[in-house]
Symmetry: C2
Subunit: 455 residues, 2 copies
Amino acid sequence: MGKQFLEITRKTEVDAIIAQIAAEVARVRVGAGTGAGAGGSAEKVGISDILGRIASSDIFSAIDVPTFDRAIMDGYAVVASDTFYTDETNPISLIIKGYLSAGESPATSQSVEKRYCIGISTGAPIPTGANAVVKVEDTSEYTGDSDHGAIKKVKVYRPVAPGENIMPAASDIKRGEQIVRSGTTFTPRETGILAACGINEVYVRKKPTVAIISTGNELIAPGEVLAPAKIYDVNAQTLCDSVRESGCIPHFAGIARDNIEEISLKLTESLEKGADVIIATGGTSAGVDDLLLRAIEECAGAESKILVHGVDIKPGKPFIFGLLAEKPFFGLPGNPTPALITFSLFVAPLLRTISGTGTGTERRGYNEKRIEAKAAQRIFSERGRNEYVLVNIVPVPVPVKNSVKKQEEASFLAYPILTGSGAITTLSKAEGYIFMEKGKEIIEEGDEVEVELLM
Amino acid sequence: MGKQFLEITRKTEVDAIIAQIAAEVARVRVGAGTGAGAGGSAEKVGISDILGRIASSDIFSAIDVPTFDRAIMDGYAVVASDTFYTDETNPISLIIKGYLSAGESPATSQSVEKRYCIGISTGAPIPTGANAVVKVEDTSEYTGDSDHGAIKKVKVYRPVAPGENIMPAASDIKRGEQIVRSGTTFTPRETGILAACGINEVYVRKKPTVAIISTGNELIAPGEVLAPAKIYDVNAQTLCDSVRESGCIPHFAGIARDNIEEISLKLTESLEKGADVIIATGGTSAGVDDLLLRAIEECAGAESKILVHGVDIKPGKPFIFGLLAEKPFFGLPGNPTPALITFSLFVAPLLRTISGTGTGTERRGYNEKRIEAKAAQRIFSERGRNEYVLVNIVPVPVPVKNSVKKQEEASFLAYPILTGSGAITTLSKAEGYIFMEKGKEIIEEGDEVEVELLM
């Protein structure tokens, strides 16, 4: 009895199918976005707006940084050999020809020859002839006599080697040097390097757009008046926000009633508006006559390809993945909690791949989206299902052995959330989920579990 | 010789001073923002734009969720007692009075009495009289005879208890229930709960604004033509972006030349524009005659209060913290790397406190901004200084013992970055820093170190 799913695909297989499509879409996008000329997948943005965006091409410096030899201490620009063999009791006296502050260009008269020096501030250019800077702490200024009356002099009490306290031109960045690699996510450190090279605009990858369609006769939008038998649409909100967190731009296409024409129309509109990915929620269960599948057939026909219909996990079994006119298409369950879990398991990885998003830490391998915890109580799973059990997490501070300095480290207890998948509040209580593989039906209280955090 | 700092404060003391001011400022802001009426620190925002923002008051539901008893399975709404004692060989036949889909209100004629039932879809309201739903899998529909001709009937093969497969009205959220606590950062899960309650606008905390002033005769803005002896201003960019990452809005006030009037003018303008925090870079070193301090005196005079001038760390010693007309004020070193390190150590904690930012994970105690690594080589520190050594991190995959399922876990090697604090590229190489406390002058190769990640 009851309608059956076309076929159930194993989760690992679903992961592989989606990863392959994601890689292909990402490859095409990145290819289109390469080069400063910017294909369809890149856009030019001022550096004030690139935090968290992704470089669409390699970026090179057009200048040396610094462009001149630069003092890195306050002091005196000298000919180093003048200072050799000096010490506290045998200082050398140099005549001060003038002073140079940061930002000032040395006048032609300010070249330094032996027995002379220029007082110099940190950041000022080294005048011609000088090849070292003596720190102000190692000197004392005084007014001396000369044939032409009183003149400013300085005693130097310590020797400096040639090059000392000077940052040579181009020592930091060389003209033509690659400063940002294509695919880099901009943090304040990268934007700082761009600023240092005088760059105020760069090409970044366009964010992929994701169309979101809610389906269901019972749904109305938040803010509207609640009619009998209706409920507010939750998925539009949670999925739009989850899409944002995955580095993409959501476009909510609206609520479609449970009929093929309306759903098909929304799908067509989304494709026409250039959506890179389409997500529909509801209408995926065999119970509603596979409305979504029939709408896809209606809308895209020969251009559509259903790759997954049904996956061996709970919650989230009635999951659809395919291509709609070459665009990745997801059909998620209508209930908010399974919708968000299948988003997290299947949609987010694809979106992160094609948007190139992912924190720097993920790429480096010290991603900590997963934590170790202990089960706070017995947890049961349905027989013969790969089950994702939502949990909340309570930290239990324990003192760290052999350490007085370290802060207390935390260990965690995971409490299963037992409200059903229809409940909205399940979402707000859940901080992560535990995976119970088919065949694993009980986790005992106190067992070590790995919790995948919902971010 | 050489000018001295007024007094050097210990880092722990600086932390305490800043934490106290931060708590005070946060208290005043949150106080002002409490209540839906919204004081000066709250603003009303549509729920599409609240991801990552912070609730400025508790939020309550105005409705029950669901508002009606709701079927959670496809099947038949029945009087439970009709089904008692049924099994595969002894089904009960019920007359189908009609069908109800999700979103449809039951007609008055659709009440259910004994021996009758209503075909019902997941999400539809339970009709009057029914008190349970039999799953479609446990039934078979057929056409039977009656006095009035052929009628639709269904055989029920399994008993249901009263309430089975029904989600009662208000069981998820009760009218008047608190659904979001003041101070909560909105994730897709919270925005989903708001949607479920039909809420499409909420009050969120205004983001604090942070004025940023660069000082230095040598500085010009990226995008302008580089004149001799000039360098591009890096701090404006890195600090604006770091301010954004700390949940605040940066306002770059521009570059001030090294004179008291110009700096003072920028400070005054920033206060007039209502900046909640002011950051100036450069001009903090005793070497430039404490320009910044004198500008503060000029601008705010009796209304200013310098709480810290100089801290016992390297890099970052010439650090200033105080209050300018009651607004927190930071003076950071002019060199980009020390500027960013002092920002990370002292400014970010204040901004995160007053903006209320911080990831959910931080609040729960499983923040992993710190990782354990091994020193990849010997690391030296200057004698008698608390030193922050910038490092980059290379993951070293090691197989996990006793586990075939788990992915390989990573361990990390930390390499010190040896370019000076004047170098810009130091920034892009650095992924974090190691703290070497005064008295600790050598870390041996292979020693365990704790790396604070630069995010």
